[in-house]
Symmetry: C2
DNA sequence: AAAACCTGTCCATTATGCAAC
DNA sequence: TGTTGCATAATGGACAGGTTT
């Protein structure tokens, strides 16, 4: 339809830029621009026959409403702001591309688009949000990686801006709309999985206790161990990087009566653990089980493959967009959702596994 | 300044939404809205003293021009369209998050923002671009992963839309503005590096010859081998996935007089090669050298670490935005840029390396 | 006469209310 | 009287050209 027209080059209409406007459609049909607008936005106000003629012309001419004009008039841009984070080389993929893709897809289905902003610190991020708001560029924001006392949440709330967060409100905020993944249940599943492989001395390599997510994941490990009658003395709390995971693993394995399984809070840490095992001449899987979290590309592609927890990012993205739309539409309903991650089992946690058993097994709990 | 105001909640101005407009500033200073506009966009037209008063009021009230109004008037949105791709689990990180972050940063510095679209096939991508154009949502596009006979390039050119591509114009198009990374030089450097480690039978595991990028990278390997007096009989052409890299490696090593070094066209393939070596009981580095391309997170975090070629994505992003800005400004100058990747050496290509020698060495050529 | 400022009209769209059939 | 279509005004900003001092 519009596919084979030239936009800027040939200006055969009255407009130098060649865009089709309401006026063009109106002229073509022989009605006023208002009727065209009504036919599209308020069909009840226009006679069925006229409406059909108008809609036919809309299709024929390939009319699409001008985003700026519509935004100006409606005070609504149909743009959702998202921040992109810098990825660090010492961390496994941040899943950002998967997440953004899913988010863009859901937004598209809802007739919205994503607008990016970028910042490396919280103050800068808040300033970037503020600028988008001041220039009336966005209707809402999607936040990622919330934490207790999150300044962004506080600022956006103060400004009365619609928000949905990937990451729960750790300070018990009942109002914030969020979607999160149940790390506790995920880590619990991973722990039970290695226990089922016969492991009894299961350690946790987690994040510092200052991290709410870290405490949540550690609780999953503790839950499982307690239920299974295993002790919970073997654990470490380290920053989320490769070197820290590696060093913590060495420390844990140097202890008397060392762990035979390592439940890690992230793939990054788990990959560090795999390195440490290799340095000690131990085989992941056969000698020491290792599991991660995130199911990053690196987990699938490293050797041996790393057992990990897959986050349902498509679902997260869908729910976030749905939530934002509800808030914008003025009918907020379910606002806080916890989703289950899926355990993806690979060789790093399988006792008898050789590299030939490379087919990954999914086990949903 | 504007930081501590409430946007939507308190409407203390004449506007229900609480945004500061030109009119507000004008009223506050006691001039017309036009003078405020002139003070900002055409300072020469307003007396210095008045201009200072106006600018002071702009700062004081926190005035920011309304994006939609400005776009409507100027026929320019200051938005740049970018497509986000779905990442596949059988491929190493697509560098998308690093690239997007850098792109967003450069765009921000140029006073622009990125708007995302999403599609899984070329036709859908073109339709998404078309929609953004028809709704006058974007001024330009940044493309990634161009190929010969690229339908997107063709369509955007036909429409007369400003574009800059990450990836050269493989069909010799002199007009397309692009930035690319010199894969041939990079692969050549990797090949020379393993040769310097004493390897003489160096194989290439590359992409199908239907891929221009694949041919380019293979040429780098061939260049180096020819210069060094090594033969170029050992090579494979496979799709860019883990399983293909693994299978190709087994085939190459099953041959009589097998290769002792594998120069791979991507980290994904190289990670497959590492898996194959492990399955044969061979040690990467000590027994067979392996190199990848992209320096993905997985390359840094796998064991042994994977030698790879780092793409200067910040530079790519900066150049792409600069190019787009030049085209939009009507003064296109340098339009085609080839950047050198950087060889990051890790254990997978070092003869005597043990996992303890984990400190990566960078070697720029 | 020139510097400084402002009026008018346009960008594309939509909510409101009025005229007409 | 009720339906149907249209003129008006407003959204916020920028530019050309005209008016003021």
């Amino acid at each position: 339809m519009t596919e084979d027209e030239t936009v800027q080059a040939s200006a055969r209409g009255p407009h130098p830029h060649g865009h089709v406007t309401l006026e063009d459609v109106a002229r073509h049909v022989g009605v006023s621009a208002q009727s065209v607008s009504n036919a599209l936005n308020n069909p009840a106000r226009v006679a069925p026959a006229t409406r059909d003629r108008i809609l036919a012309a809309v299709t024929e001419l390939g009319y699409r409403p001008n985003r700026s004009a519509r935004a100006l008039r409606n005070q609504r841009s149909r743009l959702i702001g998202v921040k992109v984070e810098a990825s660090r080389g010492d961390r496994a993929a941040l899943l950002l591309d998967q997440f953004l893709h899913a988010l863009a897809e859901s937004a598209g289905a809802a007739g919205c688009h994503l607008i990016l902003c970028q910042s490396d610190d919280e103050a800068g991020e808040i300033a970037a949000y503020r600028e988008l708001l001041d220039t009336t560029s966005v209707d809402a924001f999607v936040l990622t990686s919330t934490h207790a006392g999150d300044g962004r949440v506080e600022a956006l709330r103060r400004w009365g801006v619609p928000v949905a967060a990937f990451g729960r409100s750790w300070d018990g905020d009942e109002d914030l709309a969020w979607v999160d993944v149940d790390g506790r249940a995920g880590i619990r599943a991973a722990t039970e999985h290695v226990a089922a492989q016969g492991h009894r001395r299961i350690a946790h390599v987690g994040w510092p206790l200052s991290s709410e997510t870290g405490r949540d994941r550690r609780a999953g490990w503790r839950d499982a161990c307690t239920d299974l009658g295993l002790d919970t003395v073997r654990h470490a709390e380290v920053p989320d990087d490769f070197a820290a995971g590696r060093a913590a693993t060495h420390r844990l394995l140097d202890a008397p009566d060392p762990a035979t399984a390592l439940i890690c809070a992230s793939d990054t840490i788990a990959l560090g653990a795999l390195r440490a095992l290799s340095e000690r001449g131990l085989r992941a899987g056969a000698d020491v089980a290792v599991t991660g979290f995130d199911n990053s590309p690196a987990a699938a592609l490293t050797t041996p493959g790393l057992t990990s927890l897959h986050q349902p990012l498509e679902q997260v993205a869908h729910d976030l967009i749905a939530t934002v739309e509800e808030i914008l539409g003025g009918t907020p309903s379910r606002r806080q959702t916890l989703l289950r991650p899926e355990l993806v089992i690979r060789e790093s946690s399988l006792r008898g596994a050789t590299a030939q058993d490379a087919t990954p097994t999914k086990e949903t709990r």
